[in-house]
């Protein structure tokens, strides 16, 4: 009976030569590519930007002046009259939704054990994310401070003097 020969990892296997890492130890080159690494990097980069965007959002909307009492349709109209806040809110929407979606994706992968459950939870997640991002983007760019329905100005709107 011959003794089982155990190779230490990444050592030169007999007959293979050159001391290259054995194929089973390669981490790249799989079908997933480096998506997971990019997702990991995105969480950190978007996280830093989101700290600035969200702390600014909370300060301007809740802490300055009358705080939450000042928030109404006119408040939103005032902010989105300025491209600065349109871009701010657009960046916040996209980064927060993608950051949150990737976080929830990770949690689903961790806790949903059945393949089918995992897949369906992620289908629902991605559908919700798509709807919210598209809706939010359209709202920011099609916002109308003076909405008119059937030729009648809606009450509460901010319309130019006739």
């Amino acid at each position: 009976m011959s003794a089982t020969e155990i190779q230490s990892p990444r050592s030169k296997a007999p007959g293979v030569g050159s001391g290259r890492i054995a194929p089973q130890y390669r981490r790249s080159g799989t079908s997933k590519g480096n998506f997971e690494m990019l997702a990991w990097l995105f969480m950190r980069l978007s996280g830093v930007v989101l700290v600035v965007l969200i702390f600014g959002h909370l300060t301007v909307n809740l802490l300055v002046g009358e705080g939450i009492h000042a928030i109404d349709f006119g408040f939103v109209a005032g902010k989105w009259a300025d491209p600065f806040w349109q871009i701010w809110d657009l960046a916040m929407l996209w980064l927060a939704m993608l950051h949150g979606t990737n976080g929830v994706r990770t949690i689903i992968n961790d806790y949903a054990e059945k393949d089918a459950t995992r897949m369906w939870l992620k289908v629902v997640l991605y559908a919700a994310t798509t709807v919210i991002i598209i809706l939010g983007t359209l709202v920011i760019f099609t916002f109308d401070p003076c909405p008119v329905v059937n030729g009648v100005q809606l009450p509460g709107g901010f319309c130019p003097a006739p």
Partner: protein, 126 residues
């Protein structure tokens, strides 16, 4: 008969609990974000619809909810910066515990300030 080995329950102390806290606050913030985009979208329905629904955020019970939400956001933000430091700073892993206590102290300071300001505005009668 084999028995379960004793004492193998993982208790990761600060590192594990900050991870748990990061997940829970992350999920809470994500679901609020979905609702918040929907309520803001009411500006495209009518000025009155938006102002009516946003008015629901202005009662005392919601003021407490908003404070809780901001508490979750501030923890997630500061602990997120700690995670980045652990990953990218050479000594990050070594000092992760000290950084967690720094996160908690900063979180407490910011939340005391925020709570005083927000609750006095929201509950202060208008």
């Amino acid at each position: 008969m084999p028995t379960k080995p004793a004492g193998t329950l993982y208790r990761g102390r600060e590192g594990m609990w900050s991870w748990v806290g990061h997940r829970i606050t992350g999920v809470v913030i994500f679901f609020f974000l979905l609702v918040h985009v929907l309520d803001t979208s009411l500006v495209r329905v009518s000025p009155e619809a938006y102002t009516a629904v946003i008015g629901a955020y202005k009662n005392p019970l919601m003021a407490l909810g908003e404070t809780g939400l901001v508490a979750a956001i501030v923890f997630h933000a500061f602990n997120g910066l700690r995670i980045i430091a652990v990953d990218f700073w050479k000594k990050g892993a070594k000092y992760q515990r000290q950084m967690l206590w720094t996160v908690l102290i900063l979180w407490a300071v910011v939340m005391v300030g925020f709570s005083i300001r927000h609750l006095s505005l929201a509950l202060g009668g208008h």
